[in-house]
């Protein structure tokens, strides 16, 4: 049976054509294509901030699996977003070691300040608050992930400063965005 030329079959796949080098490198790391799914989903999320149905279909094509299989993974892993998120995702650690050090109060403070609750995004599209389970920095409690940065031993002042830095654009946004797709 003639070898299936996967590369040419993906010629109409936007996602693949945009990140060809990256995706080829990811796929090469594994003996089966489906293993590349999680890294490719991260690629999508770093660009868009979330994973749309259309992106799931394209990822399925690249990984030679069905869209249902992609959705299975996307909906299972809690860090993949199925809805657009803010430019700054504030992941508050809410598990016991942090809760013993007033993580609940930290959330209450942030929530009041931003006017949103868990999993919501501010109207200006700047902030999303997420409940994260233990972030593995319990000695520094309470902690919070601001996009990729871990902020430790949080106080009201520290939070005010972080929010201000975000508003002034001094911090790297959660996603890079792509032209013509989403601001």
């Amino acid at each position: 049976m003639p070898e299936l030329n996967t590369t040419s079959a993906l010629a109409t796949n936007d996602l693949y054509m945009r990140h060809r080098a990256d995706i080829d490198a990811i796929v090469a790391r594994y003996p089966i294509r489906q293993s590349a799914l999680m890294p490719i989903l991260w690629l999508i999320q770093e660009e868009d901030g979330w994973i749309s149905d259309e992106m799931m279909k394209q990822a399925a094509e690249i990984c030679e699996c069905t869209p249902a299989e992609v959705l299975e993974s996307v909906s299972f892993y809690q860090m993949y977003h199925r809805e657009p998120v803010g430019k700054y995702v504030l992941g508050i650690c809410a598990t016991l070691p942090c809760a013993l050090k007033a993580a609940d109060g930290l959330y209450a403070y942030l929530s009041e300040k931003l006017g949103i609750t868990w999993a919501e995004t501010t109207q200006d599209g700047l902030f999303t608050i997420q409940r994260r389970e233990c972030l593995g920095a319990c000695s520094e409690a309470p902690v919070m992930l601001v996009n990729q940065e871990l902020e430790t031993k949080l106080t009201r002042e520290k939070i005010d400063r972080i929010l201000e830095e975000c508003r002034q654009g001094k911090r790297k946004p959660y996603f890079t965005g792509r032209n013509g797709y989403r601001a």
Partner: protein, 436 residues
Amino acid sequence: MAATNNYEPILSAGVTGTVYSGRSESLADYRAKGGYDGLKRALEMGPDKVLDLIKEANIRGRGGAGFPAGVKWGFIPRNRERPHYVCVNADESEPGTFSNRSLLEQRPHLLIEGALIAAFATLSESVYVYIRKEYYEATRQMQRAIDDARAAGLIGKGILGSDFNCEVAIHLGAGAYICGEETALIESIEGKRGYPRNRPPFPAIQGLYMSPTVVNNIETLAIAAEVMRRGVEWFKGIGTEKSPGMTVYSISGHVNRPGNYELPLGVTMRELIYDYAGGIRDGNKFKAVFPGGSSVPMLFEDELDVVMDFDSPRKYNTFLGSTGIIVMDETVCFVWASLNLMHFYWDESCGQCTPCREGTNWMYKILKRLEAGQGVNGDVELLEDICGNITSRSICALGEFATGSLVRTIPRFRAEFQAHIDQGRCPFEKGYMRFG
């Protein structure tokens, strides 16, 4: 305390603080300290002798179960009918555990060396390092270390001039506690939902891609690297007879000096809390402690002299676990703490099997009611019964983990649980909720 007084950290040598502060051991620094000599020695010995040596050292797995690494490696078939795999479990997600973070961020080469030795001994040519996505800095440092090692001929084809080939790649998680379970981790690398598998077959026979696979915690591999370098005798000279060696205890919660403490196995819980972590904050009274992450039953005041090795905590029906020690003082309400943890287990249960999926959900609902003062008589007994119905009936251990905060607590503090029902509210002040 005498035996451990002047112990110099080995695994966390040069590590400062829990969280990365700009310093990570470079390849040159690591090699200057004798780094990769263990690998060199392994390559000279050949895989079979390396396996024997690790078996002899009796390195018990630091991931939680304490299963000897040598025995685990020994299950791998000694042929290459199918490719073998080594998976490095760096999905440290157990609440209260943060020792792997600092090793990943600050001593990545130690872990790479350990992984390469494991691959060599198990006739494997591929290593996947499964790091949880939340560890952004750890991922960066690990990737940098892998790139440096590859450039130096330590990863790839013909490592150190031998005929040993090995590739190392990072696989990132995406926020699933369950992926720390070895078969769930395997499923996750295969690009699927992190569902633990039924055993048999065991990963050593049919693991990743249906091939023989060994999954080890990074601390275990780090120890393996040190053992290869310094020898079995050195290793057995540390710790206790049945639990040789050292481990990194992560201490958090209401203590004065929370942090990572690398010590020989065999210190007591009292020493850890009062001598190393500086005792309870604000001069408060001690109430309870999770000795090995939030998944194991708690220890109480009269049990603090337990020796923290693999076997001693069993007499209190609890375990060394992940050596994540969460200390709670007298201000803590057990219903509140259990509710917090039950949210965690309910949230992190993969939902595959009935008892864990429905049991955690039910217990969470009950605890929520209790804490809100809407409990009804019989709820406490119901909780106990549900714990019994989950324990040892689920596919993996997560179901049992969820009962960790309740099984020993309810019998001893039944009055505290019942008070929530009788008073129709939580009787605690909750000072620890005050923020700022």
